[in-house]
Amino acid sequence: MMGAYFRKMAGSNQSPPRVSLEEIFWSWLGAFLGIGAVAYMNYGWLDGTGLFLLIGSLGASAVLIYGAIKSPLAQPRNFLGGHVISALIGVTAFKLLAPHLWLAATLAVAVSIAVMHATKTLHPPGGATALIAVISGPQVTSLGYFYVLMPVAAGALVMLAVALIVNNLAPRRRYPEFWW
């Protein structure tokens, strides 16, 4: 009984194969242009306005929508849905539970995963989006629910536009697998 339990921790599967150089190049290019677009707007246009567009979870999303574009986790439904739903949950957790930030942070992430699962929008960076809403201090928390629209939805839409343009330029790539 215990033996079987601990044997499960040994792992019984193998890692998928390494992708081709071509695939590595297009992943790099997509991330460069996608994060580049959001970062340029963030630092070039919004500097000093108090608004911003670049949040850490978009870096995580870049891995999926430029690096693992066939994954169900990387499709527009998951990408946009996961970020927006998690942002809503994160802001709500902060509003309801601050100043108990440890509990707000915990529930923000746990509830986000549960709701993303239930709505078929599971997108791992969504967990970060929910967490950012709680832990980032007044620059973010003062936005309230505006956080959901900007930076989250706006930033994600810019990244999605770049994903559609760049991923489909590659001869052996196609994005998305499904929209909804």
Partner: protein, 207 residues
């Protein structure tokens, strides 16, 4: 508790076992990062294949695959004529039907061999060996008998809406090679042999 990792996963069909090396090769052939381990893919493949086989054999019925152009004999047909008819048509079994086309029995090659004193295993090569070691024809002892004397009765029959899956199980369990398909009144509609099942399954499974 058993460790399932060390046990070979049973193949959906003997001889069609996909290896993880095959899956890795396939994953390399598809451009882009596939978000699944070869082991998980194998599990998906195995279950999907099983599902497809089950669906195919559930959907096909006896009526769709049976041979309707069946050679039959009457209970009072002399076995010499039964043998000649089987030889002419190249079949290894015939249903025995009465005047009303009702199936009363089945005669297969094995029934001849049994009556001819061929010892286990009752197959053609044992018969050849017997022939070569004795003078005269080993079929002589049954020369005067009739179909009704050597037939298997009652015949194993199925209704026309029987799924092929059930027929395959029946053939395996009973150790026979064909079943007669009969209507509600017991009249012969056709015959389903192992060959019919294989042809039907392969034809449907091919893309």
């Amino acid at each position: 508790m058993l460790d399932t990792r060390d046990k070979p996963v049973p193949a959906p069909t003997p001889g069609i076992e996909i290896k993880e090396a095959d899956i890795l090769e396939a994953m390399r052939a598809i451009p882009g990062y596939l978000d699944i381990t070869p082991g998980d893919f194998k599990e998906v493949y195995r279950l999907a294949f099983q599902h497809a086989l089950e669906r195919l054999s559930r959907e096909i019925t006896a009526a769709e695959i049976m041979t309707t152009d069946v050679v039959t004999v009457a209970p009072d047909t002399p076995v010499a004529e039964v043998a000649a008819a089987m030889g002419r048509r190249g079949v290894s079994g015939v249903p025995v039907v009465d005047a009303g086309q009702k199936v009363v029995g089945v005669i297969s090659e094995k029934d001849f061999l049994t009556r001819m004193g061929v010892k286990e295993p009752m197959n053609f090569m044992t018969l050849v060996a017997n022939c070569l070691m004795t003078k005269g024809c080993v079929a002589l002892p049954i020369k005067a008998t009739l179909a009704t004397d050597i037939m298997n009765t009652p015949a194993v029959t199925v209704p026309p809406d029987t799924p092929v899956k059930d027929i395959a199980a029946l053939l395996t369990q009973s150790g026979i090679n064909r079943v007669a398909v009969t209507g509600p009144d017991g009249r012969l509609l056709g015959l389903v042999s192992r060959g019919d099942i294989i042809r039907a399954t392969m034809g449907r499974a091919a893309p």
